[in-house]
């Protein structure tokens, strides 16, 4: 049990009569890259909102980084990172100022902030734009920066909600390199995407269909089980 970062049992969210997330049960191991797949409206975002403590569950239980998602939200939030499809950096602050702000919010010391800022800028090779306003930086770079800022405080797990939507294939590839680096550092990655080729980069994949988790396993397991040649086919078979 110790090395499980997410444990969810019968996690459910109802909005009136509509069940957005319907009794999902799964777990995610530490250091794993966990792909959370599903069509639009399948309940992915609702599930992430519950797991990050911004939405209460209707029933079921879940622990993330060891904390109850409904009862221990503050501790939970200190130990997770989050990057949404909506852009999360402040456009009217510079790269450095954004890092400083989020570092401060997560309780890093001044010294830590300085070190981490240096590391981040060096890793992304962005020293030439460190004092540029985010609004003047191209989208692909912004996504990489947003991801790096989301793991600045070295969380146990980072949630990525469609992080690569709207970026070109090369940037996507680079983005996935950053994800691998984070996973090697021991940060668990929980990622939603609707690019099926990206699913193939994940250690394990789950598939949401109409609020239910229809399948979970490694790429090979899923391909074998559904007798498919790639994830596209698995997706089509399950979604039907």
């Amino acid at each position: 049990m110790d090395n499980k970062v997410i444990v969810a049992k019968d996690l459910t969210k109802k909005f009136g009569n509509f069940t957005a997330v319907d009794h999902i049960t799964f777990d995610v191991k530490q250091g794993e890259i966990f792909g959370f797949l599903g069509a639009n409206g399948a309940g992915k975002t609702t599930a992430i909102k519950m797991l990050t403590g911004i939405l209460s569950s209707t029933s079921g239980i879940a622990k993330v980084a060891g904390y109850d998602i409904n009862k221990e939200r503050n501790e939970l939030k200190k130990n997770i990172g989050y990057m949404s499809q909506k852009f999360s950096l402040y456009e009217d602050l510079t790269l450095k100022e954004n890092i400083r702000f989020y570092g401060g919010i997560y309780g890093l010391t001044k010294k830590q902030i300085v070190t981490k800022t240096g590391e981040l800028i060096e890793r992304l090779r962005l020293s030439h734009i460190e004092n540029t306003l985010i609004s003047e930086i191209p989208l692909g770079w912004k996504q990489k920066i947003a991801f790096s800022v989301a793991i600045l405080h070295h969380p146990k797990i980072v949630f990525l909600d469609e992080p690569t939507s709207g970026v070109d294939p090369i940037t996507r590839r680079q983005f996935w390199n950053l994800i691998y680096e984070a996973a090697e550092d021991g940060i668990t990655v929980f990622v939603t995407t609707h690019y099926m080729d990206e699913a193939e980069y994940c250690d394990r994949i789950s598939m949401m269909v109409q609020g239910k988790m229809k399948a979970i396993g490694s790429l090979h397991e899923l391909l074998e089980k559904y007798n498919a040649k790639d994830m596209d086919e698995v997706f089509l078979k399950l979604a039907r």
């Binding site: 909102k49 997770i80 949404s84 999360s88 009217d92 919010i105």
Partner: protein
């Protein structure tokens, strides 16, 4: 504490990076203070008067020239007919007609009763009332002067009223209005800046990111409130300097008392703004709500119209109006030199409201979707 400091730093950077913000903070309020203070004048000057003189006597000419000599009246025309004057009222060329009847002089000299007739354009009823009042004063003075010159009245030692206008001996309306307008500007600035702030993060989408961070709600609200409190106190200070140095408004009370009250008051107004920000989804909605409140607060503040002349239910409603309390306090402290003891009730009301509204804002800011 550390988190609050980081939020404050971020807010200041964003405020000063906003292109519209600098003129909004450093130019607009002072233009308003300067312009409004000269225009919000309730003394009625240059009342345009037409005299219908059917008497054509030296006495009626004397009365006419007395009116002409007055600061408040501009004599537009004198003639025999009433209709000419009435047409002029219709064409908005004059404000008041004074009709002096035939035999005015004869009747007065014979010590018989005589009547003068005043017609006023009462579209602006306040102005009409004041004009008639001024005119009656002139006529009254005229009457006494005439009577005295004929020895009809003896001046006896008796009841003699002597007028002293305390706290504003020159009856300078600016002393009364400038502190009030200063209150208004500080209030508007604080209400709008804070009202638009959190909702902006909602519109841009950054609030979603903040909601998954371990920021506590109170840290968030305090971090948002502090920068505007500092700006508000700064604005007040500059405005106060303008009031004292340019308009020469006296300052009899304690600077400490006025600043203490201003800070608590600002926390209240900023709290109202924060509350608006938490219940709205777009800056447009927040703007409309802020307008709704500011118009009601301003018109029911006692700044432009005395609270005592409002209907009872409206007077009761003004008890919920923060501007009312602040206008009262700033006038009392600046012009009357009142001490803390005499503004204690206002201070308590504002402090209590500030605590309540900020708690509401904190409670209402949902970190959950």
């Amino acid at each position: 504490m550390q988190r609050i400091i980081y939020i404050v730093q971020k807010e200041f950077k964003q405020i000063f990076r906003n292109r519209m913000m600098k003129p909004m903070l450093f130019i607009m309020p002072f233009v308003q203070l300067a312009v409004l203070s000269y225009t919000a004048d309730f003394t009625v000057k240059d009342i345009r008067i037409y005299v219908q003189d059917q008497d054509m006597s030296p006495l009626s000419a004397k009365l006419t020239s007395k009116i002409k000599a007055s600061d408040n009246f501009t004599l537009k025309d004198v003639s025999y007919t009433y209709d000419e004057g009435f047409n002029k009222i219709q064409d908005n060329e004059i404000d008041v007609i004074l009709s002096i009847p035939e035999h005015f002089s004869r009747n007065l000299n014979a010590n018989r009763k005589t009547e003068l007739f005043i017609t006023a354009d009462a579209i602006n009823s306040t102005k009409a009332g004041i004009s008639i009042n001024y005119l009656q004063n002139i006529i009254h003075d005229f009457q006494i002067e005439e009577a005295q010159s004929k020895g009809l009245i003896e001046i006896k030692p008796g009841i003699n009223t002597i007028k002293r206008d305390w706290y504003n001996p020159g009856l300078d309306y600016k002393f009364f209005m400038v502190p009030g307008i200063l209150v208004l500007l500080v209030t508007m600035l604080a209400l709008f800046l804070s009202g638009m702030n959190i909702v902006r993060e909602k519109e841009v989408g950054t609030i979603e990111q903040l909601n998954v961070t371990p920021i506590r709600k109170y840290q968030f609200i305090i971090g948002k409130l502090l920068p505007f409190l500092i700006i508000g106190v700064f604005e007040f200070t500059v405005g106060l300097a303008v009031a004292l140095l340019w308009f020469k408004v006296p300052f009899l009370g304690s600077v400490g008392v006025i600043y203490m009250f201003t800070i608590v008051y600002l926390i209240l107004v900023l709290g109202i703004g924060m509350f608006i920000s938490t219940i709205t989804d777009t800056q447009q909605q927040a703007l409309f709500l802020a307008w709704f409140f500011s118009v009601i607060f301003i018109l029911m503040s006692g700044l432009f119209t005395p609270i005592e002349s409002m209907p009872q239910w409206a007077q009761d409603l003004t008890l919920l109006n923060p501007i009312r309390y602040y206008v009262e306090v700033i006038r009392l402290v600046m012009l009357k030199g009142s001490s803390f003891a005499s503004i204690k009730v206002n201070f308590l009301v504002i402090t209590l409201s500030a605590i309540i509204i900020n708690m509401l804002a904190i409670r209402n800011y949902k970190k959950t979707a």
